[in-house]
């Protein structure tokens, strides 16, 4: 055995890899032709892409934006001498507004648009809490009451009074807590706003409006439709179901057996039945369950059922967030003397909700896609509208353009939301806080 010792005197510089390893060739070799099997796959994939594009692109390229009816389209396409036909975009030109807004009065469409812009502003501090100041959360809070008013219209007093409900409850709690004890005053504090909303808001707002008329034109929910309806149902249902979901999740995590099983029962029931059956309940049964004479319109009923539906799913998401919190947080809160509700509000929920945002976004995407089911009970969401557009003699027989347009709308919104939620998930993982 020779002498093993060795010392390098001058260090080797870094060299470039062999040409076959890098650059375009290296990339191709690595990613497309790294073996005979892969090469075959690549060829098949290329052929597949070619076939698909060759079938779709000529059809897509079709200058029919101005056509006023299907037969006009056919004429244009025949003139061009296209063999396999082409898309008829005239229907989109003519109906895109309807597909977006349904029958919402044209001169009032700034209202839903404003609402959705407001929605983004309101969500910004929640979704991108690093870039936007926390003060914007005040707007978010106010927006909760402004948005429905903007959409449905009516006297400005209604949202103000609605917002006053929780305040009343809070005041009542403050005064009563020392008189009748905590539990009773909590119950009262919950009941007061509910009763206030149910029985007083309407007459009061009318009364005030009689004195100081200040409001915007009422738009009946019957006129809501199209993509706007999907978004609106989704947003309202998620917003309210966040509250219900938190309650259900806390209930499910609670040590109180009855509360726990009630929550579990509700959650499992809702998650165990298809949404469409719940929508049938909305359309056929909900009025039967309500006191005789109650009659809220079908869109409200659908929103109620969608909210219940979403809240079961949100509850599960939030339960995951709660479970992800270390026990130490609960103990530290206890040791500092915070009671259950304060601990939840100040310590647990802020953290749990933050962890849950990706899950909430996913739930929203799911719900948003599911809002198309309302077409089955006769509401005019985009899919429902395709039916009524096709009932128009001009567009009788048009299919792909409408479905394609709707699919594109949904794809863009759902895809960007899912990207956001992936981004957030990654950020939460690396956020070592």
């Amino acid at each position: 055995m020779e002498d093993l010792s060795y010392v390098r005197t001058d260090m080797l510089p870094e060299r470039d890899p062999p040409a076959s390893e890098v650059g375009v060739i290296g990339w191709l070799r690595m990613n497309l032709f790294s073996g005979w099997f892969n090469s075959i796959l690549t060829v098949i994939a290329l052929a597949f892409i070619y076939l698909v594009l060759a079938a779709i692109i000529p059809w897509l390229w079709s200058p029919t934006w101005g056509a006023g009816s299907l037969s006009a389209c056919r004429e244009i396409i025949a003139e061009l001498g296209k063999e396999h036909g082409g898309a008829c975009y005239g229907v989109i030109t003519e109906r895109w507004q309807q597909l977006l807004f349904g029958f919402y009065p044209e001169e009032l469409r700034w209202r839903p648009i404003l609402t959705f812009i407001g929605l983004f502003v309101a969500l910004a501090p929640v979704l991108f809490n690093e870039t936007f100041p926390g003060k914007m959360l005040w707007f978010t809070g106010a927006f909760l009451f402004l948005a429905p008013w903007l959409m449905w219209g009516g006297p400005i007093w209604t949202p103000l009074l609605v917002a006053a409900g929780p305040a009343l409850g809070f005041v009542a709690y403050r005064y009563l807590v020392s008189v009748i004890g905590n539990l009773a005053s909590v119950i009262v504090a919950v009941l007061i706003p509910v009763l206030f909303w149910l029985f007083l808001v309407g007459p009061l707002s009318q009364a005030i409006d009689g004195v100081v008329p200040l409001g915007i034109e009422v738009v009946e929910s019957r006129l809501f439709g199209g993509f706007m309806l999907s978004v609106w149902i989704g947003v309202v249902a998620i917003a309210i179901s966040l509250v219900l979901g938190v309650i259900l999740a806390l209930g499910r995590q609670s040590d109180l057996l009855i509360v726990k099983y009630l929550s579990v029962g509700f959650i499992e029931f809702i998650r165990g039945v298809p949404l469409i059956t719940l929508l049938f309940v909305a359309s056929t049964l909900l009025n039967i369950f309500m006191p005789p004479g109650t009659n809220f319109d079908i869109i409200l009923r659908v929103m109620i059922m969608a909210t219940l539906f979403a809240s079961a799913y949100i509850a599960e998401v939030i339960r995951g967030g709660l479970a992800a919190l270390p026990r130490g947080q609960y103990e530290a809160a206890d040791a500092l003397g915070l009671d259950y509700w304060k601990a939840q509000r100040l310590i647990i929920l802020p953290q749990a909700l933050k962890i849950s945002i990706p899950g909430i976004v996913s739930t929203f995407i799911g719900l948003f896609k599911d809002t198309t089911l309302v077409s089955i009970i006769g509401l005019l969401d985009p899919i429902g509208l395709t039916g009524s557009i096709r009932a128009d003699a001009n567009w009788n027989g048009i299919v792909w353009e409408l479905y394609g347009f709707i699919a594109l709308l949904f794809f863009i919104s759902c895809f960007s939301m899912s990207r956001y939620s992936m981004w957030l998930e990654k950020k939460l993982r690396t956020d070592h806080r």
Binding site: S71, F103, E220, R222, S283, T284, N287, I288, N295, D297, I298, I377, G378, G387, S388, R390, A391, D392, A393, N396, G397
Partner: protein
């Protein structure tokens, strides 16, 4: 009560077909027109004085009854057949018949079929939740021939599948078939088979339990029919309203008696109803009559005097 609700709301909610040319369909401006629509407008005119004060709620055969039962609409005028079950078990009140119809079949002429009995083994498009669906089953069963049903929700879908050849024939009320055929690109290529396999008296209906409201609807329809019988038309109604020698006409138009008051309406309720779209005959001719592309003959729907079944009870 429904009347109070309608008056408080200032508009009538009317369940209509989601789109059947000639019976109920929105025109290019979104204004609803048609034979059934005209009944709604007449009721609105009678109750509110304004034929335009109607909100139309499009329904499918499947959703129509829940819409009415749950109070989503005040009245359903949607080529709905009057049957015992619907009247008694489903708890609705039919307030008359605005079109006496029967179920028929439409086939492409190229199919070479001339009688429904030759349809053995055919694929049949059928709207679910209708009487026609049940009649169809009975018809093929009693004739001991087979068929393949393709259940469908709306007339538009049926039309699409039928035209694409996904079903050999489409069956529904003969009037509906005529209306559907009229909207085809080439109506002449399709034939309605001669067999009428059922009775389909179509009429407006309301919920059980509000007889006052049912009376209003019933007598509005009767007023339209009676108006034709007595020659009251939209052109001469102004003139007749100033008083005539015929006491029945006077009673109808409210210049005599207190019929409006009895119904809880203005005295000139019937006049407004008739003025809204004309009398029964005018409505028929304008929307589905022989001068329209739909081209239906009066047939059973002629006045009783002309050998038809339209027969308004006396206004007395």
């Amino acid at each position: 009560a429904t009347l109070d609700d309608v008056q408080a709301r200032g508009s009538l909610k009317c369940g209509s077909n989601s789109g059947l040319t000639g019976f109920a369909a929105p025109d290019a401006n979104g204004h609803w027109e048609g034979f059934d629509v005209a009944v709604c407008r007449a009721v609105a005119a009678a109750v509110l004085g304004d034929p335009e004060a109607v909100e139309f709620v499009p329904t499918t055969p499947k959703t129509r009854f829940t819409a009415l039962a749950s109070g989503e609409v005040d009245i359903l005028v949607r080529n709905t057949t009057w049957t015992l079950t619907r009247d008694v078990d489903l708890k609705f009140t039919f307030t008359g018949v605005n079109y006496y119809d029967g179920q028929g079949f439409i086939v492409p002429k190229a199919l070479g079929v001339s009688s429904a009995k030759e349809l053995d083994g055919a694929t049949v498009c059928i709207q679910t939740g209708t009487t026609t669906e049940l009649n169809l089953a009975d018809f093929f069963r009693t004739n001991n021939i087979s068929y393949e049903p393709v259940p469908i929700e709306t007339n538009a879908e049926a039309q699409q599948q039928y035209l694409a050849g996904a079903c050999d024939t489409y069956t529904t009320d003969a009037s509906g078939l005529a209306a559907t055929r009229a909207s085809f690109e080439n109506p002449a290529d399709h034939a309605i088979l001669p067999e009428i396999i059922s009775k389909e008296p179509l009429g407006p209906l309301v919920r059980h339990g509000d007889d006052e409201w049912a009376d209003i609807v019933r007598w509005t329809l009767n007023a339209l029919v009676a108006a034709e019988e007595f020659g009251i038309t939209s052109t001469n109604i102004e003139e007749l309203a100033s008083g005539t020698d015929n006491p029945e006409i006077n009673r109808i138009l409210g210049t005599e008696g207190t019929m409006g008051e009895m119904l809880g309406l203005e005295a000139d309720w019937a006049m407004k109803a008739i003025a809204a779209g004309g009398n029964y005959g005018e409505i028929f001719e304008k929307n589905i009559g022989e001068s329209t592309p739909i081209g239906l003959a009066r047939g059973l729907n002629a006045q009783w005097k002309d050998g038809g079944l339209q027969y308004a009870p006396p206004f007395r």
